[in-house]
Amino acid sequence: MGRSVRRDPGSDGAARVSTPLLEVQGLRKAYPGVVANDDVSFSARRGEVHALLGENGAGKSTLVKTVYGLLRPDDGRMQLDGRVYAPASPHDARQAGVAMVFQHFSLFEALDVAENVALGMEVPPPMRELATRIRDVSETYGLPLDPSRLVGTLSAGERQRVEIIRCLLQDPQVLIMDEPTSVLTPQEVAILFETLKRLRAEGKLILYISHKLEEIRALCDWATILRHGKVTGSCDPRQKSARELAETMVGSELALPAARTQDPGEVALSIAGLTAASGAAFGTELKNISLEVRRGEILGIGGVAGNGQDELLAALSGESRSAPDSILLGDLPIGSFGPNERRALGVLAAPEERLGHATAPDMNLIENAALSGRHRMRMVSRGFVNWRKARAHAEHVIKQFDVRVPGAGSVARSLSGGNLQKFVIGREILQQPDVLVVNQPTWGLDAAAAAAIRQSLLDLASQGAAVIVISQDLDELMEISTRFSALNEGRLSEPRDAAGLTLEEIGLMLGGAHDLEIGQGSSGPERAVGPGETVP
C-alpha cells in the first residue's frame, strides 16, 4: 500500500509523467494470413486502470496473451518496472507479478474453489491454510466465496471471483482483466468496480479489456485504442463521449437501432407451466415457465448465465421435448416435436455456443447453412441435398450480414466469434421465421457488429415475426425488447413492458438480491453505469 500513487481525478494526460510500470514497444505478432499485432506500443503506470479498447479481431486478446506469456511476440520489447520483461510462459509472468482473469473462465468445474485457486498459484500453501487465506482475501475485497464449493455449482459472478482471488493471492503488480463484466448482473458489476478501485488505490496496474464504452468511461484512467492490430489512438476516456470512443475504435459511424412503432399482433407462441430437468451435470431445472410472445414483438429474457437460459433455449428449439400441450404455436401443440419439425413450422433458434452447438466447427458455411435451413428453404428433395440452393443461401447470408470470410467454402472454425455469430443469426433470419429464439446474440461482439445484429432482430420483429431474445446484456435488452422478463434459478418472472423499467428494478428481478454486500466503505448497491453517468 505504501507505494501507492495518488491519482488526481481531474487531471488529463499531463498527470501521466510518473515512470511507467509496464512498457510495451513495437510489439508484433503475425499468424498465417493475418497480422494480429503490428508495431503496438503503449505504457501504463501504477495505480491506473488502463483500458485496451477495440473491435473484435483488433488484437487486444493477442496483446494481453503476449503480456501474460501465453504467446511469444515475433518482434518488439516489453519492460516491467524498468527491467526487460520477456515471459516464456505464464509461470514466468506470474513470478514477475503479472496475473490474468480470463474472458472465458479458465476454471475446472469438477474441482472445488480452493483446488482451482491452488492451480493458479506458483507455490500454493497447504490446502487448509489456503482455505483460510481465500476467506481472508475474499472478505478484504468484498468478494464472498466458500473455498469448499464445487466451481460447477457457482454462478458466473462467483466464478469470476474465484479467478480474481486466485490472482490476488499472488500479490500481483499487474492485473489483466479480459471482458470481466460480460457475464455479470448490474449489482455484481458494482461489486467488481469497488474491488478494482480498491486495487487501483493500492497502486496496482489493471489492464482492462472491454467493448462496453460506458464502463470504460466510468472506470478507466487511460485508454489505448486498437484497430486491425495497430494502435490508433490513446486518450483519457473520461474526457470523451462514448460515441467519440466508438468512432475511434470502429472507424465509421455507429448505427444506432431505430425506434420501433408497431403494435404487437396475435400470440404466436405460448408456453404454459413448463417444467423440465436439465440434461447437463451442473444444469438448472426449469420450473413452471409460462410465457406468451406476440407477432411483431421482442420478448427480452434477462438473467445471469446458468439460471436456465440454455435449458429454456433447448425447450424452445425442440432439443429437449415436453408434454405436447406445454408449448403452443398458435393453436398447434408442438411440445413433443423435435427441432426439425419445429424448424419446418417456422420456429427457429440460435443457441449461445456458436462453435459446436450452432454450427459444426469443421464443416463449411454452405454445409452449416444447409443443416439449419434444409426444411424451410426446401434444400432437400427425395433425400438429396440441393447444394446450389444451400450455397446461394450461405452467400446471401454472408452478403446481407457482412460476414467477413474469404468465401462460403470456409469452415466455421476459421471464422472469428463476431463473424460467426453474424452468420448464425443471419442464417436463421433469412429463413423468415415465424418465431425466432436467440440466446446471447451479441456476446463478445464489438459495438458495430452488435448494433447490426440488434437492428436485424428489430427488422425481423417489425416484419411480423415473434422474437425471443435471451441475453445477459441488459442495455441490449432495454434497447430492443418490447417486454422484459427475467430468469432466476429456472423460474421466469412475469413479463413486463420494457418501457419505464430501471436497471435497478431489473437487477432485483434477476435475483441480484443475492450477494449484495459490498466491501466496507461502500454505500449499498450502486447503479451500474448508464449513459451520461460517471462513477466518482
Binding site: 496473451k65 501465453l70 479458465s106 476454471l107 475446472f108 460447477g152
Partner: protein, 310 residues
C-alpha cells in the same frame, strides 16, 4: 454336488490373487483416464507385458527381472500410443483398438518358442509370524508380492489424486485441457506421463498372469481381462476404491463359479461362466447410479484431442 469341498479360506486367498491382474490394469487406466486420455489398448499392453515378462524370466531365471521387463515393455507400447495420439493427434479410440490388435499379434509372435515351458517359480511373500495366524495368515500374509503392490498402488493412486499437487494438475488436465494450458501447465507432458504409468501397470498385470497365476505362456492368455479393467474404471466412476471393489468382485465371482463348477452344482455352466461379468457390472452400476455425481467425477476432456494453438 459337494459344496463342502470349497474351503472359504483358500477361496479368499485365491480371489485376491486372481483379481490382481485386473486391479493393476484398472488402476493404470484410472490414472490415464483421469488425465483425459482414453486408452483402449489395455488388453494389448497386458498381453505384451505377459509375454515380455515370461521371456525375460525364463531366459534370466529371475522372476523379479521378468516383472520389471513386463512393466517396461508395456510402458514402451503405451508410449507409442502416447506419441501417436498426443503428438501426432491421431484418434484415441482407433489408436487404442489398434494397440490391442498389435499387442495380441506381436505377443503371439514373440511367444512362439515359449509355449509349454514353466517359468521359474516366484515364491510367496510369507511374512514371518503373521503368516502362521489362522485364517488371516493364508489370506492376508502369505500372498505374492504383486498382490501387496497392487493394494499399495490403490492407496497410492487414491492419495496421489486427492492430496498431491501433481495429482491436482493431472485431474485439472483431464477436466479441461484448455484451461490447464491457459494456466501454463503442460497438457502433453502430463498426459504422456499418465499414459506411460498406465502402460507399466497393465504390463505388471500381464506378468502377474503369466508368471504367478497360470504360470505359463499361452497365446491370448489375457482373455479379455483388459476390457474388463476398462469397464471397471468406467462403472467404478473413476474412484480408486470402487475400482478395487469392482476388481475383487469380478475376481471373487470368477473363482467362486469355478469352484461351484468343480463341486458340480446344478446351475448350467454357461450361466456360471457369465456370472462374474453380470454381477460386477450390476453392482457397479447400482453404486454409481447417481448419474449427476458420476458425471461430475468423469473427466470432462476424456478422449478429446488437444492441440495447443496460439
Amino acid at each position: 454336488m459337494d459344496l463342502g469341498s470349497i474351503n472359504p479360506v483358500l477361496l479368499i486367498a485365491a480371489l485376491l490373487l486372481a483379481s490382481t491382474p485386473i486391479l493393476l490394469a484398472a488402476m493404470g487406466e484410472l490414472v490415464v483416464e483421469k488425465s483425459g486420455v482414453l486408452n483402449l489398448g489395455v488388453e494389448g499392453m497386458m498381453i505384451v507385458g505377459a509375454v515380455a515378462g515370461f521371456i525375460v524370466a525364463v531366459e534370466s531365471g529371475s522372476p523379479a527381472l521378468g516383472i520389471l521387463a513386463a512393466a517396461a515393455a508395456a510402458a514402451l507400447l503405451a508410449l507409442l500410443f502416447g506419441v501417436l495420439t498426443q503428438v501426432l493427434l491421431s484418434n484415441q479410440v482407433a489408436t487404442g483398438l489398434g494397440l490391442t490388435l498389435f499387442g495380441l499379434g506381436i505377443s503371439s509372435l514373440m511367444g512362439q518358442g515359449y509355449v509349454g515351458i514353466r517359468p521359474p517359480t516366484s515364491p510367496r511373500l510369507e511374512l514371518p509370524v503373521l503368516s502362521d495366524l489362522p485364517i488371516a495368515g493364508p489370506v492376508l500374509f502369505s500372498q505374492h508380492a504383486l498382490v501387496y503392490l497392487s493394494l499399495a498402488l490403490v492407496a497410492g493412486v487414491w492419495w496421489f489424486l486427492r492430496s498431491t499437487r501433481s495429482g491436482l494438475i493431472l485431474r485439472a488436465v483431464g477436466e479441461s485441457h484448455e484451461a490447464a494450458h491457459a494456466l501454463g501447465y503442460s497438457v502433453l507432458g502430463t498426459r504422456l506421463a499418465a499414459i506411460v504409468f498406465g502402460g507399466a501397470l497393465a504390463g505388471l498385470g500381464g506378468a502377474c498372469l503369466s508368471l504367478v497365476i497360470v504360470p505359463q505362456w499361452t497365446e491370448g492368455m489375457t482373455a479379455g481381462r483388459g476390457w474388463i479393467a476398462l469397464a471397471i474404471v468406467v462403472f467404478g466412476s473413476w474412484r480408486a476404491w470402487r475400482v478395487l471393489l469392482g476388481a475383487y468382485l469380478f475376481g471373487g465371482v470368477s473363482v467362486l463359479q469355478l469352484n461351484l463348477q468343480a463341486a458340480g452344482i446344478a446351475i448350467p455352466v454357461e450361466l456360471l461362466s457369465m456370472s462374474p461379468y453380470l454381477i460386477t457390472i450390476l453392482v457397479l452400476v447400482i453404486i454409481s447410479s447417481d448419474k449427476r455425481r458420476a458425471q461430475a467425477n468423469a473427466p470432462s476432456s476424456l478422449g478429446r484431442t488437444f492441440h495447443a494453438s496460439g
